[in-house]
């Protein structure tokens, strides 16, 4: 269904004679900081997000270390509350939301559709600076206005009682939100207007579909967090009662506003991850991605349905029973397309040729972890069960399985997949596999124990559980196991950082198409790509996963074009 097969009409050789590529032209810091090249902006995002991920990870390790044993371990209650707040704010707003669109969306999307760049390159660079301003504001707020201890959800009236630091931090989130809106706008226009000849909508790689659906959510949902922030300001400055009951406001209204943005934001985080998984499953199974049309359109469907389920965060908030019932039903509606995506990814391997390289290990890890995250999502979507599980560690475990086990694992898989394209170097496959194992074991030990903690009654955001041990003696062992797991997980992530950096200086030069992929960034661009991506405008004659038609990669008789490149490694 994707393409009608004229394999030999495609241009086959885009190697540049000069060897000039986007990394070795226009050298120097100033050239990088003023670049309009989507590939360089993607790398700028990668550097920024990597730093914030390191910070957020350190906060997470501090939280887990404090909880390793009952009683005060390394910090007092105030420090603990500030640390988990910082962990949440940094990971959600500075890592998960910008990561995949900012890094891989920027780098890969124009290449995959055969474009020279995004539609608005200057806006693209501006969005990175706006993101940095928001991020620096968020991280330096404690120097200027003091620490925030409200949790990343900023629930009123607790947040209205505390200092101006909350307004500062929400302003930072608001500013970073504009970066998200601009990126989304850019991608929507780019996908509509800049596709190469022959790149019809049903030949778009599924990563492009996913980023496109994400962009719709970014543009439509992000303004709501801005509106919420403005209302918080108006309440504080003009003493209008909006959220603060002391002024006649309604604190639950804040929760509605907050989740009206923050639930769609969950899809900003997970939809692009699903796009990466589609690419990995196709390439490493060398088979057409099962249910292409469904996966593509379900991304868009999920993007729209994602706006209608915010109330499932509020089943015990005091909202009306009717609201809770409707939100529960809508939540299941969104669960079904998500489940079908998982079935289709597994089915992609059927009668394929499965190659267990590091990126594929992360794709399979995603399927394992995301399935657990999804099934426990059904568990907490069921009204009566959620009453017991709400605001316990079960919820913490559930969203870490989706956000980290889903979004971040997919990002890591995607970075491994496109690493040769981005850097022109290969990383150590052996180190990649060891790190993947550490991440898998560490992650499950950290978070599976939290499912049990939560369903047995352990509330989240507790600095101490010593008083609970009399009735719940098992909490001590489970918390300790979770902390041990988090250290294993951190070791795995550090290992990735180290062999990634090592490959930059000592990695083998990457062949043009090391995985035998058939999307444009591998078939029609050099590795690394030239400053303007393609020598000639690509002419697209087949679907993104038509391996059987990709004779310029594999040779006309199921030949060994890729095999030659592979054997050079």
């Amino acid at each position: 269904m994707h393409g009608n097969g004229k394999p030999k009409t495609m241009s086959t050789n885009d190697h540049t004679a000069s060897g000039a590529h986007y990394l070795n032209t226009d050298r120097g810091l100033w050239a990088w900081l003023t670049t309009h090249d989507h590939k360089r902006i993607g790398i700028l995002y990668a550097i920024a997000v990597a730093i914030f991920f390191l910070l957020g990870g350190i906060f997470a390790m501090l939280v887990r270390t404090e909880l390793a044993a009952p009683g005060e371990t390394i910090m007092d209650q105030d420090q603990f509350n500030q640390t988990f707040t910082l962990h949440g704010v940094v990971m959600v707003f500075l890592v998960l939301i910008p990561a995949i669109p900012g890094i891989l969306g920027n780098f890969v999307l124009p290449l995959q559709i055969g474009a020279k760049d995004v539609a608005f390159p200057r806006l693209n660079l501006a969005s990175w600076y706006i993101f940095l301003v928001g991020a620096v504001m968020a991280l330096c707020g404690w120097l200027i206005v003091g620490q925030v201890d409200t949790g990343w959800t900023f629930y009123t009236p607790y947040s209205s009682d505390s200092s101006n630091a909350v307004l500062w931090l929400t302003s930072a989130v608001f500013i970073a939100g504009f970066a998200s809106i601009f990126t989304g706008l850019n991608f929507i226009v780019t996908v509509h207007k800049m596709r190469a000849p022959g790149m019809t909508w049903n030949r778009l790689p599924l990563f492009v579909w996913a980023i496109y659906a994400t962009a719709i959510v970014q543009v439509l949902a992000t303004p709501v967090i801005g509106i919420t922030m403005i209302l918080l300001f108006l309440e504080r400055l003009l003493q209008i009662g909006i959220f603060d009951p002391a002024l006649g406001g309604d604190p639950v209204l804040f929760q509605h506003f907050f989740w009206f943005y923050s639930h769609p934001a969950v899809y900003i985080m997970i939809l692009p991850a699903m796009g990466i998984i589609s690419e990995l499953m196709g390439t490493f199974s060398r088979q057409q991605v099962s249910g292409y049309t469904f996966i593509a359109l379900s991304s868009v469907a999920i993007a729209f349905l994602g706006f209608l389920v915010w109330g499932h965060h509020m089943f015990v908030s005091g909202q009306s029973a009717i609201s809770s019932i409707i939100f529960s039903m809508l939540t299941f509606l969104i669960g079904i397309p998500t489940g079908i995506k998982v079935f289709n990814w597994v089915a992609t391997m059927y009668k394929g040729s499965v190659w267990l390289q590091t990126p594929m290990l992360y794709a399979l890890m995603f399927l394992f972890l995301f399935t657990i995250g999804g099934l426990t999502g059904i568990m907490v979507g069921v009204l009566a069960v959620d009453v017991h599980l709400h605001d316990t560690y079960f919820i913490v475990a559930h969203f870490h399985y989706v956000m980290m086990g889903g979004a971040l694992i997919a990002l890591i898989g995607g970075l491994h997949y496109w690493w040769p394209k981005i850097t022109g170097r290969m990383y150590s496959e052996r180190a990649g596999r060891i790190a993947a194992l550490l991440v898998f074991v560490g992650f499950n030990l950290t978070f599976f124990t939290q499912f049990i903690l939560g369903s047995r009654g352990m509330p989240r955001r507790y600095h101490d559980y010593a008083e609970l041990l009399e009735r719940f003696p098992e909490f001590a062992g489970l918390h300790l196991a979770s902390t041990i797991g988090s250290f294993i997980l951190a070791a795995g992530l550090f290992m990735i950082l180290i062999y990634g950096l090592h490959s930059l200086v000592a990695g083998k030069p990457a062949p043009k198409n090391p995985w035998g992929a058939v999307t444009l960034e591998w078939t029609h661009a050099t590795t690394p790509p030239g400053p303007h991506n393609f020598h000639r405008m690509p002419l697209v004659t087949r679907g993104p996963y038509d391996f059987h038609l990709a004779d310029e990669v594999f040779g006309p008789h199921g030949g060994n074009g890729a095999a030659e490149e592979l054997s050079t490694r």
């Binding site: 105030d78 201890d149 629930y155 009236p157 607790y158 009682d161 009951p245 002391a246 604190p251 060398r286 088979q287 469904f294 015990v316 005091g318 029973a321 809770s324 019932i325 529960s328 299941f332 669960g335 079904i336 289709n344 597994v346 391997m349 059927y350 009668k351 394929g352 040729s353 190659w355 267990l356 399979l364 394992f368 399935t371 657990i372 099934l375 059904i378 568990m379 069921v382 009204l383 009566a384 069960v385 009453v387 017991h388 709400h390 605001d391 049990i452 047995r456 009654g457 509330p459 955001r461 507790y462 600095h463 609970l468 719940f472 035998g516 391996f547 199921g558 060994n560 890729a562 054997s567």
Partner: protein
């Protein structure tokens, strides 16, 4: 630990706990089956269709419409079942029987206060066994959440309206009460207990707990001190807490964060209860709630001061 507890869920001690647990285990069982099917297929395909040669070029196959349809129909049926089941139990959990015994719950940073129809106040929840109890809950500051894991009951407690929860305890024992909506510094200390008693013992406790007006002020003060949850932050034995200890407090010289000092006489103690953040003792945060001037009577405050003076 009771033998009713399992790996997954804590002991169950309310009438609808069984309904919730049955549903939990049903979803868990279906989830395990689906998970094993998905991951089993994934592992089998990984092995069965592993790459034999770099030149492998599998031929696309026609996707079966029936298989695709089953992926839509089976999950839809399953979620329809769990939604309906969850909805029915939720309605049961949301509607208290009309004959329920009503207890007023007041949440504040960081204590629970339970008030009975005869005026008795307690910071431990006493309830009769095998009788529906309805809680009418409100908060005097931020949002809290009332959670008893053994009863599978949870409900947010709001500052601007009443929320309700109900349960019927099935056996006599003591259970944990937790706050599950993050409420600041001492959130993890905002704990209490439910004591489930026989009807006779419960009634006896109610009668004994009526505060005696002829009680000496310091004794009344001690009861109010406990009822208001003050011990969460203020110790009477000199140990450290979120607030200063009461030991040796009365008559001592206090040094404040603004650099001033004062002697802790009766007027200071009164001001410190009514407007606690006006002067904050060095080494502490301005975190004490300010509602006591409104919620306590003059007699209550006198009694509290008398109690503090004895420490």
């Amino acid at each position: 630990m009771d033998d009713q507890s399992s790996i997954w869920l804590p002991e169950a001690a309310s009438t609808f706990a069984e309904d919730v647990d049955g549903l939990f285990y049903f979803i868990l069982a279906v989830s395990v089956v689906l998970f094993v099917a998905v991951i089993g297929a994934m592992c089998w395909f990984t092995y069965r269709y592993r790459r034999q040669s770099d030149a492998d070029r599998p031929v696309p196959f026609k996707e079966s419409k029936w298989v695709e349809a089953s992926w839509i129909v089976v999950p839809t049926v399953l979620v329809a079942i769990v939604f309906t089941w969850g909805f029915r139990v939720y309605v049961k959990m949301g509607v208290a029987p009309p004959n329920a015994y009503e207890i007023t719950v007041r949440a504040a940073k960081w204590s629970w206060l339970f008030e009975y129809p005869n005026g008795v106040r307690s910071n431990v929840l006493h309830v009769p066994v095998s009788r529906p109890v309805r809680l009418k809950m409100s908060s005097s500051d931020v949002i809290h959440s009332f959670f008893v894991p053994a009863f599978r009951v949870k409900m947010d407690v709001l500052p601007n309206r009443y929320t309700y929860a109900w349960f019927e305890a099935t056996r006599q024992d003591t259970f944990q009460v937790l706050c599950t909506e993050y409420c600041g510094q001492q959130h993890s200390m905002m704990l209490s207990r439910v004591v489930v008693q026989s009807e006779d013992n419960f009634q006896a406790w109610l009668r004994e707990s009526v505060m005696d007006e002829s009680m000496p002020p310091a004794e009344r003060g001690e009861i109010i001190f406990a009822q208001q949850g003050c011990p969460t932050c203020h110790s009477v034995d000199g140990s450290a807490g979120a607030g200063p200890t009461l030991q040796g407090l009365a008559g001592s010289e206090r040094a404040f964060t603004d650099g001033t000092t004062a002697i802790a006489d009766e007027n200071y103690l009164r001001d410190a209860i009514i407007d606690p953040v006006a002067q904050v003792v060095q080494g502490f945060q301005p975190v004490m709630p300010g509602q006591y001037g409104a919620t306590l009577t003059t007699e209550d405050i006198d009694a509290l001061i008398a109690f503090i003076q004895e420490q």
